[in-house]
Subunit: 306 residues, 2 copies
């Protein structure tokens, strides 16, 4: 890679004291706090799949690359600490693209006090690829897993769903602070984030917990963009909300008392809604306002329900 | 990504108890040992740059993707523990390629008792990209950095240099065990691995330590492959040894007493050679057998010296 990009990146990172770590060695060194577990995740984003370089400013791409990983740590109620960033930059656009990309990423890193601890900067004749590996901390035993849901728990979600492709998938705020606050104040049995789609990500909680769910379809919060998408696709806004994915909201299974308190207190800036309940019977079931009950596909992309 | 690849990968990983961790959650959970620092690194390899899918079995590519990261932890004298693996697989070759790739990677992971703790498996219409992020441990304060070299230290290396492109760059054994043994038995002032080239990687130690080096050019161990490359390139074997890179051997700065003991004991299976000494004067200087002394380019690719 061109030397001056690396020099710029070193300067850019070292100019932010909270982001500086491990520069000048073969690997970063970091001592986590005592009594904590590490939480580790990684995501790779590719031009033409997760974004289109020709249509989106690189700053938003860099931001997204970190944001999707932050959302994975939010899904465990962990505090993000260190990021490792690898890029394959198209030679045609090179340095200008890279700087914009890193600016977007570093801005979000700074917002979440995430240290850029290392990385690998390459150029090639292929399309842009960016990979982030993110390491966080959680007090030992305090991570919220997918596996703890129990029959009788209420299913709560933050925010709204569907139509993320219209912009939300680039500009969402990962629910890190929200997850930490909820973990500290309420008894959460299970937690995940919505990346693949509301019904599919819920099915992961169900599979790991060995139970099922009933969703009250009229209670699922639908993003305005899902209604716009619906007009173009001919599919219902509800179908978009259940299946689109990249909402990066939280799904929680919460015991009834804690859920009632949480819903009454509404402790976050983003609204929290109850969309259903955990049941012993396997599968996901949709309940309509008229009381009809039918199986709901777990796969966000199959759209069996509309 | 196709479901059955993911299922296969889960099975393949879970069939190796030591590799199983964090499957079924949004992120991996891991509690490092008390009194240790973490050591973190990442490397991205791309088709057409770091390997050619059309010319190399995918098994060797997967192996290399982990091996280059293992070498970075060896360069800090750290014990590798967890890997996160992201891939962008070309749709044309898809699953067969992926399985071979992971087999090569998992085999090496098993050899080094590295846990595959998570990852991100994608397919796209671009060339193969694989990223590994690797986390290791070192007792607090025991990592060997680039920065500790002092005038008077001897410069020692493991193995031989040059012509790695003929196969060594795919099949090398990362010097992890070697670095741990050397750290435990000898006083090492500075350490790095040779990825960019012997003279360039040495210059990183010099820059971080604020000193210079004299190399005895006749003492630099030259790989047989470097002589083959020399016949095709017209450049000297020494030039290949100094500049080719991807040797993944260790360079150490060792105080004279410890160095003398180390050279006499030869505690590794691979030979250890003295190639020069650290001096106060900045720059890297080449000494010929006839006593002539001239500046040596730090940049492996500039080949100012031949």
């Amino acid at each position: 890679m061109e030397r001056n990009l690396i020099d710029w990146l070193r300067w850019r990172v070292s100019a932010t004291p909270s982001l500086h770590l491990g520069i000048g060695d073969d690997a970063a060194l970091w001592e986590p706090a005592a009594g904590t577990e590490l939480v580790l995740t990684t995501d790779m984003l590719m031009d033409g799949v997760d974004f289109h370089v020709s249509q989106v400013p690189a700053r938003r791409i860099g931001r997204k690359a970190l944001a999707v990983n932050l959302s994975d740590l939010a899904a465990m109620a962990a505090l993000p600490r260190l990021a490792l960033v690898s890029v394959a930059l198209p030679v045609q656009q090179g340095e200008a693209l890279a700087r914009e990309l890193y600016e977007g990423l570093l801005e979000l890193a700074s917002d979440f006090q995430v240290v850029l601890a290392g990385g690998d900067t390459n150029s090639w004749h292929g399309p842009l690829v960016i990979n982030v590996a993110l390491v966080g901390e959680v007090p030992t035993g305090k991570a919220i897993r997918r596996r703890g849901a129990q029959p009788g728990d209420l299913i709560l979600v933050t925010g709204e769903f569907g139509g993320s492709i219209q912009g939300h998938h680039l500009d969402f705020t990962p629910r890190v602070q929200e997850a930490l606050l909820l973990r500290d104040r309420y008894d959460l049995h299970a937690l995940t984030d919505v990346s693949d789609g509301l019904s599919l990500d819920l099915s992961h909680i169900l599979a790991e917990s060995g139970c099922g769910a009933e969703l009250e379809l009229a209670h699922i919060p639908i993003r305005a963009a899902a209604r716009d998408c619906s007009q173009a696709s001919g599919r219902s806004p509800l179908d978009h909300a259940l299946g689109d994915g990249e909402d990066f909201e939280l799904i929680m299974a919460v015991p009834p008392d804690a859920a009632a308190r949480l819903l009454a207190e509404q402790p976050l800036e983003v609204p929290i809604s109850q969309i259903g309940r955990i049941i012993a019977e396997r599968g996901t079931w949709g309940i309509r306002n008229n009381g009809t009950r039918q199986p709901l596909s777990a796969a966000g992309w199959e759209h069996r329900f509309s």
